[in-house]
C-alpha cells in the first residue's frame, strides 16, 4: 500500500534529533499531576537503593572483624541486622514499584487521551493522508512504549545514579586509591553510550514506521476481505504482508545488533573492573596495605552496579524505542488544529440565506475541483444539486461544513463569512448525511442518537419511522438494541443508508444536507421517505444531492454542477424546457425506458 507522507504526521523523519531533553521536558507535564506520588516513590527508591549498599559493608565487617576475632555474638547481630535491612528494602520496593507503575499507567492514559483529543481536532485533510492504522499506532502503541521509559528505564536510571554516587562515597572512604583506579573507566563508558545513542535512533524510527505500515495493511485487508477472496488475491496479499514483515525484521535486527554491541562493552567493563581490583588491589593486599574485606566490598559493588543493567538485557532497546515513539507522539501533538474558535461568532439558525461567492477550491496540486461558483440558497428553500459524477457536489458540502478551506472566494451564512463563524455552532446547525455511510460500534439506538442519552427513545423512534426503518428495526431479534458490527456489515446496505438518514432527523437540524442519502434505497421506501420529508422540511433549508431525479423532485430549485461549475439552475420544469444538461439526464433516466 502506498501513502503520501504528510508533512505533519510524517513517517519519514528518520533523522535523529538531538532533542532528547526537549522530549523529556514535554513529557514532564504529564507526570506533574502525580508529583507527590513520584517524589515519595523516588525517595523510597533512593532510600532502598542506598540501603542495599549496606549489605556488602556488613559482610566486609564479618570478614575483617568478626571472623578473625571468632566473635559469634557479633556475627549473630550482623546477620540479624542484614535480615531486617533486606526485608525492609523489599517491603519498600514493593510499594514503590506498584506506585511507580500506577503513575506510569495513569500518566500515559492522560497522554493517550490528549492525543486522541488532538486528533479529533486536526483538519480533515490529515485524515485523507494518514491511514487509520497509522493514527491508531500513534495513540496506542507509541504511548505504550513511553510508559516503559518511565516505569522501567527511569527507575533503573535513578537506581544506578544513586548506586554510583553512594558506592563512590563508600569506596572513597574505604580506600581512595583503589577507587581512583576504577574511576577512570567512567569517561570511556559515557563516550560509548553517546555513540550508541546517535547511531541507533534512526533505526528505531524506521522500526516504528514499519510497524505502522503493517498495521494499516492489516486493517485494510480485514475491511476488504470478501473482495480479496472473490478476486482470489489471497496469495498476493500474503506475499505483501510477508515482505513488509521481513522488512521490519531486517531493521529490527539491525537495531538489535547495535544494542548488543554496546552490551558487549558493558560486560567487558565489568570484567576490567574486577581484574583491576583483584590484580592491583590483590597486590596491595599481599603487602598488607588493604584487607580482604575491602577487596570483597569493591568486587561486590562492581557486580551490583552492573546487575540492574544486565537485567534489562533482552528488552532494553526500550529507551531508544521510547524516544523514537515520543518524537512521533509529540509531532502529532504539535500539529496545527482547526483554527481557534472561541472568539468567533456563534450562529443558532439560518436567518436569511447561504451565499456561495466566487468559490474556487482544490484539494491538492492546484487541481481545481470547484471553479468560481456563485449561488444563493434562501432560508426554507429546498435545493437539489445534480450533475456528472466527480463534478464537485460533495466538495461543496465539505466546504460548507468547514472540513476544508477554499482557496478563493467565501461562503456566507446570512452575511457572515463562515471563516468568522464558530465551527461547532455552524456544524450543530447542520444535519449531514454523508455519501459513505458511517456507523459506530454500538447498538442501533446508540448510533441513531449518537450516544447522547439525553435524546429520548421516543424521538429516535419517531425519526426512524420517518425514515421508514422503524418496522425493519423492530423485526430484528433485539430491535433497537441490536449491535451494529464493524460499520454495519450485519445490515443490508440500504438499511445502513436509512439509519444514516434517520440519524440526521433525530438531531432535528436547521439545515439538512443529504449527500446521496437514498441512492441504495428502493423506490417505494424512497417515496415514503419523501412524503415524510415534505412535512419535516417546512421552514427548514435542505440541500439534496442525488443522481436519481426522483430524489430531487422535492426541490424548489435544481442546480446542475458540471466539472466544478454551475451550468444550469432553475425549477424542474424550467430546466426541462431549457433542454440542456438536465434535460438530457432526464431523458436518459426516464424516456429511454419507455422505449
Amino acid at each position: 500500500m502506498h501513502w503520501h507522507d504528510d508533512e505533519l504526521i510524517s513517517e519519514e523523519e528518520t533523522q535523529p534529533s538531538k532533542k532528547n531533553w526537549r522530549i523529556i521536558s514535554k513529557l514532564l507535564p504529564y507526570f506533574k499531576k502525580y508529583k507527590i506520588k513520584i517524589i515519595i516513590a523516588s525517595v523510597l527508591l533512593l532510600f532502598s537503593t542506598l540501603l542495599t549498599l549496606l549489605g556488602p559493608i556488613l559482610i566486609k565487617r564479618v570478614i575483617d572483624i568478626e571472623i578473625p576475632q571468632k566473635n559469634m555474638q557479633g556475627l549473630l547481630i550482623i546477620a540479624f541486622i542484614y535480615l531486617v535491612v533486606q526485608l525492609f528494602i523489599i517491603l519498600v520496593r514493593y510499594f514503590q514499584e506498584i506506585e511507580i507503575q500506577k503513575v506510569g499507567e495513569r500518566a500515559i492514559a492522560d497522554l493517550k487521551s490528549d492525543l486522541f483529543e488532538q486528533l479529533l481536532h486536526i483538519p480533515v485533510a490529515h485524515f485523507d493522508k494518514n491511514p487509520v492504522g497509522r493514527l491508531i499506532s500513534r495513540v496506542d502503541s507509541d504511548t505504550e512504549t513511553l510508559k516503559f521509559l518511565f516505569s522501567q528505564t527511569a527507575v533503573v536510571l535513578i537506581q544506578n545514579i544513586a548506586l554510583i554516587i553512594g558506592m563512590s562515597i563508600v569506596m572513597m572512604v574505604v580506600n581512595l586509591r583503589l577507587y581512583l583506579l576504577i574511576l577512570f573507566m567512567l569517561p570511556i563508558f559515557l563516550l560509548i553510550f553517546w555513540w550508541f545513542e546517535r547511531s541507533v535512533r534512526p533505526v528505531y524510527l524506521a522500526v516504528r514506521k514499519k510497524v505502522a505500515e503493517i498495521n494499516s495493511y492489516i486493517i485494510e485487508t480485514l475491511h476488504g476481505l470478501p473482495i480479496v477472496q472473490i478476486f482470489q488475491q489471497e496469495t498476493n496479499f500474503l506475499k505483501k504482508i510477508n515482505t513488509l514483515g521481513k522488512e521490519k525484521c531486517t531493521v529490527e535486527i539491525k537495531a538489535l545488533s547495535y544494542w548488543y554491541r554496546i552490551w558487549c562493552f558493558v560486560d567487558l567493563g565489568e570484567v576490567i573492573g574486577i581484574i583491576l581490583v583483584l590484580g592491583i588491589g590483590g597486590m596491595w593486599a599481599l603487602h598488607g596495605a588493604i584487607t580482604i574485606g575491602t577487596i570483597f566490598l569493591f568486587i561486590s559493588y562492581i557486580t551490583r552496579l552492573f546487575g540492574p543493567l544486565r537485567r534489562l538485557s533482552d528488552q532494553v532497546n526500550v529507551i531508544e524505542r521510547a524516544f523514537a515513539s515520543a518524537e512521533r507522539v509529540f509531532q502529532v501533538l504539535a500539529t496545527k488544529r482547526e483554527g481557534k474558535e472561541q472568539e468567533k461568532e456563534l450562529v443558532k439558525s439560518l436567518r436569511t440565506h447561504i451565499t456561495f461567492k466566487d468559490l474556487s477550491f482544490y484539494y491538492e496540486n492546484e487541481n481545481w475541483v470547484l471553479e468560481n461558483l456563485n449561488f444563493k440558497i434562501k432560508k426554507g428553500e429546498r435545493i437539489a444539486l445534480v450533475g456528472e459524477t466527480g463534478g464537485g457536489k460533495t466538495s461543496i458540502i465539505a466546504l460548507l461544513l468547514k472540513f476544508y478551506e477554499p482557496q478563493k472566494g467565501t461562503i456566507l451564512i446570512d452575511d457572515t463569512c463562515i471563516s468568522k463563524i464558530n465551527r461547532n455552532s455552524l456544524r450543530a446547525m447542520i444535519g449531514f448525511v454523508p455519501q459513505d455511510v458511517i456507523l459506530f460500534p454500538g447498538s442501533i439506538m446508540e448510533n441513531l442518537r449518537l450516544f447522547d442519552e439525553q435524546i429520548s427513545p421516543r424521538k429516535v423512534i419517531e425519526a426512524a419511522t420517518r425514515a421508514c426503518i422503524h418496522d425493519r428495526i423492530c423485526k430484528l431479534p433485539k430491535s433497537y438494541d441490536t449491535n451494529i458490527i464493524e460499520q454495519g456489515v450485519n445490515l443490508s446496505f440500504g438499511e445502513r443508508q436509512l439509519l444514516s438518514y434517520a440519524r440526521a432527523l433525530v438531531f432535528d437540524p436547521d439545515i439538512l444536507i443529504l449527500d446521496e442519502a437514498t441512492s441504495s434505497v428502493d423506490p417505494e421506501s424512497e417515496r415514503l421517505i419523501q412524503v415524510g420529508m415534505k412535512e419535516l422540511l417546512k421552514d427548514r433549508t435542505a440541500i439534496i444531492i442525488a443522481h436519481r431525479l426522483t430524489t430531487t423532485r422535492l426541490a424548489d430549485r435544481v442546480l446542475v454542477i458540471h466539472k466544478g461549475q454551475l451550468i444550469e439552475q432553475g425549477t424542474h420544469a424550467e430546466l426541462l424546457s431549457a433542454e440542456g444538461y438536465y434535460h438530457k439526464l432526464y431523458k436518459l433516466q426516464y424516456l429511454s425506458v419507455v422505449r
Binding site: 500500500m1 502506498h2 559482610i59 570478614i63 571472623i67 559469634m72 556475627l75 550482623i78 542484614y82 535480615l83 492514559a109 487521551s113 479529533l120 480533515v124 485524515f127 487509520v132 493514527l135 491508531i136 496506542d140 485494510e220 485487508t221 480485514l222 473482495i227 477472496q229 472473490i230 482470489q232 504482508i241 514483515g245 525484521c249 548488543y260 560486560d267 567487558l268 565489568e270 570484567v271 581484574i275 568486587i299 487541481n367 459524477t389 472540513f403 450543530a428 449531514f432 458511517i438 449518537l450 431479534p477 464493524e486 456489515v489 446496505f493 440500504g494 441512492s519 428502493d522 423506490p523 417505494e524 436519481r548 426522483t550 423532485r553 424542474h572 432526464y586 429511454s592 425506458v593 422505449r595
Partner: protein, 572 residues
C-alpha cells in the same frame, strides 16, 4: 503452544547452538567465583605475586569470552524472536484471509489488529527469549549447585532451602495472574476498537460536533483499562517481591552459617566469598524462573487469543474436487438461509435459474435479501438449506478456486485499497496496456484518469477516500471487468453514477455476448436491458419475467417502477 514447538522443530540447529553455547557461557560465568576463591585464599595465605598475576590473567581471558557469549546469545535469541514473528504473522494472516462473514461478525478489525500486533509480538518474545531465559536460569542453577556442593554441601543446602517456598507460593498466586492478564488484554482491545471507529468516522464525528463526547467516552474506556492494568501490576509485583525476599533469606543463611563454618575452620574465607558471589549470581535466575511462570501464563493467554482467530470457523469448507467445469446454467433450488441459529430466515425457499450468457436482473425492497443471494451464488456463504448448481455440479463439489474464478463482482459498498488507481484496477492481475485501456474506457474512467496529474499512478487514499462516490464505483467496476469473468455481478454498483454515465456503462456491459450478467439495482430503468428479472421481497421471489411482462403484472415490480417516474411522466 503448537506454533512455538513447530518453529523449533524447523530450527533444530539453532536450538543446538543456543543450548550448547548457553552451557559453555554458564560454566564460564560460574568459574569466576571459583577462581575468585583461589585468589582470595591465595592472598590470605600470602602466595607469590607471580601466581596472583597468572590467576588474574586467566580471569581476564575468561572475561573476554564471557562478554562475547553473553552478547552473542541474546542477540541470536532476539534475531530468532523476529524471525518467529514474521513467520507467525504470515501464517496467521493466511488463515485470516480464508475467513467468512461469521468471523467478521465476531472479531472487529481493531480487535484482530490488537492480536496481530501486541499479542503476537509479545508471544514471539516468549517464543525464543522468553523460553531461553529460564533455560539459562536452570542451567545456571544446576551448574552453580555443582560448584557450591563442591565447596560445601551443608552450606549449599542451607542457602537453597528457602527457594522451595517460592514454588509453593507460586502455585497459590498464578490463577489470579492469568485471569487479570486476560481481562487487561480485552480492555486494551476495546481501546483499539474505539480509536478505529472514531478515526474512520471522523467526518461524522466532526459534523455532529461529537468531539467532546467522544473524548469523554474514550477517557472512560481508558479508566477501565487502567483498572485492569492495576490488578496485573499488583499481582506481578507481589510475585517478584516474594522471590527476591526468599532469596535474600538464603543470603542471610550463608552469612550466618558461613561465618560459623569459617570460625570452626570448615571453610576458608575465599570459599565464603565465592559462596556469596554464587548466591548473588543465583538471585537473577531465581527471579527469572519466577518470572518465567508469569510470562508463560501471559504467553498462554496471547497464544490462546491468536489461536482463537486462527481456528475460528472459515464458514466455507473448500472440499470440492471438481476442477474443470464447463460453465452451464446456474440454478438454485429451495435455497434458504439464515445468518445465525437464533435469527429468522433471510432467504426462504428460493428457486431460480440463471441461463448462461443471459442478462439477469434482481429487484426488490431494502433488506429483501438480494446481496445475501449473490453471496450464496459466489459461495462466500453456504445456504442453510437447498442447493446451488452449476450445470449438474453442486457448487460445493467445485474447488473454491475454480468457482470464484468464474465471477467478477462489484460490491454494493466501496471496497478499494489505499493504492494507486492502476493497482486498484489491476488488483494483482497482469494485463496488456491495450486491454487495460479498453477496460478503462468500458468503465467510463478514461476522462477521469486523464484529468489526474499522475494518471493511473495517482494514489486514492484509504478505501478511496480521495475519490468521489461515482469514481469509486467505476474503479470497482473496472476491476471486475478486467478479470474477464464468465459471470459479472453488479450489486447496486451504479447507484452513485449520473444517468448519462450509468446508461453508457450498462449498455456496453450488456452488449458483451459471452458474459452472464447479473444486475441488482434500485433504479429499475436499468433493468430494462435484462433478459429476465426476479423480484425479491422479504427473502422470497415474488415475481419473475421480462421487464415488460412484469410491468403488465402490476405487482411489486410495477409499483416500484411507477414510484420512480416523475409526475409528468405518469400523466403521459
Amino acid at each position: 503452544m503448537k506454533s512455538i514447538s513447530a518453529f523449533w522443530k524447523k530450527k533444530k540447529l539453532w536450538l543446538l547452538f543456543l543450548i550448547s553455547f548457553t552451557l559453555v557461557k554458564t560454566i564460564i560465568v560460574l568459574l569466576f567465583p571459583y577462581i575468585l576463591k583461589d585468589i582470595i585464599d591465595g592472598i590470605e595465605k600470602g602466595f607469590a605475586e607471580q601466581k596472583l598475576l597468572h590467576f588474574v590473567l586467566l580471569l581476564g581471558v575468561l572475561g573476554v569470552f564471557r562478554a562475547l557469549f553473553s552478547t552473542l546469545l541474546p542477540y541470536s535469541r532476539g534475531r530468532l524472536n523476529e524471525i518467529f514473528l514474521v513467520e507467525e504473522r504470515t501464517s496467521l494472516f493466511s488463515k485470516i484471509l480464508s475467513k467468512g462473514h461469521s468471523f467478521t461478525n465476531r472479531f472487529p478489525a481493531g480487535d484482530v489488529l490488537q492480536r496481530l500486533d501486541h499479542d503476537l509480538s509479545e508471544l514471539s518474545w516468549f517464543a525464543c527469549s522468553g523460553i531461553f531465559r529460564p533455560v539459562v536460569a536452570v542451567i545456571t542453577v544446576l551448574v552453580a549447585l555443582v560448584f557450591m556442593v563442591d565447596i560445601n554441601l551443608w552450606l549449599t543446602v542451607l542457602a537453597v532451602l528457602p527457594s522451595t517456598l517460592a514454588i509453593f507460593s507460586w502455585l497459590k498466586i498464578s490463577p489470579y495472574e492469568y485471569r487479570y492478564y486476560h481481562s487487561w488484554r480485552d480492555k486494551m482491545a476495546k481501546v483499539n476498537n474505539y480509536l478505529q471507529s472514531s478515526f474512520s468516522g471522523i467526518k461524522l464525528v466532526k459534523s455532529y460536533t461529537m468531539e467532546k463526547k467522544n473524548h469523554r467516552q474514550f477517557k472512560n474506556i481508558l479508566v477501565n483499562r487502567i483498572e485492569a492494568a492495576f490488578k496485573v501490576i499488583k499481582i506481578e509485583t507481589l510475585i517478584h517481591t516474594l522471590f527476591t525476599a526468599i532469596e535474600e533469606i538464603g543470603i542471610v543463611f550463608i552469612l550466618l552459617f558461613g561465618g560459623i563454618f569459617i570460625m570452626r575452620g570448615n571453610i576458608t574465607i575465599g570459599e565464603f566469598i565465592a559462596f556469596n558471589a554464587y548466591i548473588i549470581i543465583l538471585l537473577d535466575p531465581m527471579i527469572t524462573i519466577g518470572h518465567f511462570f508469569v510470562s508463560k501464563k501471559r504467553a498462554e493467554v496471547q497464544n490462546e487469543r491468536l489461536e482463537e482467530v486462527k481456528d475460528y470457523s472459515v464458514d466455507i469448507e473448500d472440499k470440492g474436487k471438481v476442477k474443470n467445469i464447463v460453465v452451464e446454467d446456474i440454478s438454485m433450488s429451495n435455497v434458504s438461509f439464515k445468518y445465525s441459529k437464533d435469527v429468522p430466515l433471510i432467504l426462504k425457499g428460493i428457486n431460480l435459474r440463471i441461463p448462461i450468457t443471459k442478462k439477469i436482473g434482481l429487484a426488490g425492497t431494502v433488506g429483501s435479501g438480494k446481496t445475501t443471494l449473490i453471496n450464496i451464488l459466489m459461495r462466500t456463504i453456504d445456504p442453510t438449506e437447498g442447493e446451488v448448481k452449476i450445470g449438474t455440479f453442486n457448487i460445493k463439489e467445485i474447488s473454491l478456486e475454480k468457482l470464484r474464478a468464474l465471477y467478477g463482482y462489484v460490491p454494493q459498498e466501496s471496497s478499494l485499497f489505499s493504492d494507486t488507481i492502476g493497482n486498484n484496477i489491476l488488483f494483482g492481475r497482469k494485463c496488456s496496456a491495450a486491454e487495460l485501456s479498453r477496460v478503462i474506457k468500458l468503465a467510463q474512467l478514461a476522462d477521469f484518469i486523464k484529468r489526474q496529474p499522475k494518471g493511473l499512478d495517482e494514489l486514492i487514499g484509504e478505501k478511496g477516500l480521495k475519490l468521489s462516490g461515482g469514481e469509486k464505483q467505476r474503479i470497482a467496476i473496472a476491476r471486475a471487468i478486467l478479470k474477464k469473468p464468465k459471470i459479472l455481478i453488479l450489486d447496486d454498483a451504479t447507484s452513485n453514477l449520473d444517468a448519462e454515465t450509468e446508461r453508457e456503462l450498462v449498455n456496453q456491459l450488456s452488449a458483451t455476448p459471452d458474459t452472464t450478467l447479473i444486475i441488482i439495482s434500485h433504479r429499475l430503468s436499468i433493468l430494462s436491458v435484462c433478459d429476465y428479472i426476479y423480484t425479491i421481497d422479504n427473502g422470497v421471489i415474488v415475481e419473475q419475467g421480462t421487464h415488460d411482462a412484469l410491468l403488465k403484472k402490476k405487482g411489486l415490480y410495477c409499483r416500484l417502477y411507477q414510484h420512480q417516474l416523475i409526475e409528468e411522466e405518469l400523466k403521459k
